[in-house]
Symmetry: C2
DNA sequence: TGTTCGTCAAGAGCAGTGCTCTCGATTTCT
DNA sequence: AGAAATCGAGAGCACTGCTCTTGACGAACA
């Protein structure tokens, strides 16, 4: 946040923000495919080529929106976890899951941008990864806390991960300090299961199948918690 | 397949097939967004407007490709299950999972079309549902067989689904004859978990996280099986 | 056998897209 | 004050899905 010095820098920052705001509104209503630089320019009363002074390409604008969306869902999850009883680990998992689902239902197109099919020809730059792991970091903290408190006891329902996966487990452990490999992969299963459910629900796979989706979601994430060993 | 009567009908069927073939190739290389009617026409040596004699709009062509893709993954799963020992229910689940993942890795854009973000402005017509449930039907049969054989015993790791979900469970049971509600929702959790994992892997969520993804996938689907009660 | 009718490919054209380049005008820095 | 950087406007390129009209061809009917 360097204080904008010149008037030109101030108006530039202002316009950049206005562009992303309008683009975010367009994204929310039309989806990623309907995001049009010309339409943004039109709404701003500018000519389309002027947008390129602020974003060198449509993909760069998309990147800005993606980072914003990652931060939004990350913040939603962080805030939800902050309200939960830190020692009630199952409760924290459940609130976390519902926070993810609620945010996704409220921002379907942005969710699709993050966890749906990658937009064709678009390559997410490194800049996004920092924001991308905020939600996963919260989840990892819940697991690590539960393990540290001895509140997680994975049931013997499946074999241990083979030793060859120790390296991959180590990477995950950078967010999940001290957790043994078995729980790491149980947690990974739960995490992907959570997003699998939300994606199925959002992308229409549950049409004509489930009606009371909130309740079914709750049952599913409790199953995933139980599979991890997060007791009822 | 009514035998094509007139020569005109025969050449029409031929050209329709050629259009979908070229479109499928384009889809495989460029993705859904890169599917261009004009490019298809160009490759056929036709003029773009002629395509509209065969497909009234781009979306109709897309629908044809979606149905093809659903049938392709459904058939892959059916064939995989046919090779497995019918009484080894865990083994059937594992081969089924690997068939899904293998097909998805071999046809990433088509998988994204089916299980990724819905393409903007496109509404899947009723015609697709028949093909859409082929893979789920195989899975349901595995679960139903396992239950009938007494080979599935869900561990008490999570509470039973509430009675309010009985109606939704009944709908799922149309593919999963005789299976009690508890197992229905455990199965649903496993099924969404499977696709959640595949989507995460395909859509880049595992970048910089997992390297030995085949092995990790195997661990995950075994966890999901254990959560259902499909013994090791 | 000849004629009418339906089907077809071609072409022009419309409105829209992302993006590039140039040209003046304005602001900032030296 | 002059040089340099920045900016919006406009024209233009190549592309998209889609519509409409025109002329040719094949099939069925008289």
């Amino acid at each position: 946040m360097t204080a904008a010095r010149t008037a030109r820098e101030r108006v530039r920052a202002e316009l950049t923000r206005e562009i992303t705001d309008i683009a975010r509104r367009q994204l929310a209503t039309e989806g990623a495919g309907g995001l049009s630089l010309r339409a943004v320019a039109r709404e701003m009363g500018m000519v389309s080529s002027a947008i390129y002074r602020y974003f060198p390409s449509r993909d760069d604008l998309l990147t800005a929106l993606i980072i914003d969306a990652y931060n939004a869902i990350g913040e939603a999850v962080e805030q939800a976890d902050a309200t939960a009883d830190p020692t009630d680990h199952l409760g924290r998992w459940l609130t976390l899951c519902h926070a993810v689902r609620d945010w996704a239902l409220a921002h379907p197109h942005e969710y699709a941008l993050l966890y749906g099919s990658p937009v064709p020809g678009y390559q997410a730059p490194e800049t996004t990864v920092e924001a991308a792991v905020r939600d996963a970091a919260v989840f990892s903290r819940v697991v690590a806390d539960a393990y540290a408190a001895g509140a997680i006891a994975p049931p013997p329902i499946a074999p241990d991960p083979p030793a060859s996966l120790a390296g991959d487990a180590e990477i995950v452990r950078s967010l999940m300090a001290g957790v043994p490999d078995l729980i790491v992969f149980r947690a990974l299963t739960a995490w992907t299961g959570l997003f699998g459910w939300v994606s199925f629900e959002l992308f229409g796979q549950f049409n004509n199948v489930l009606t009371d989706r909130a309740t079914a979601f709750d049952v599913a994430v409790r199953n995933l918690a139980g599979q991890m060993g997060l007791g009822q």
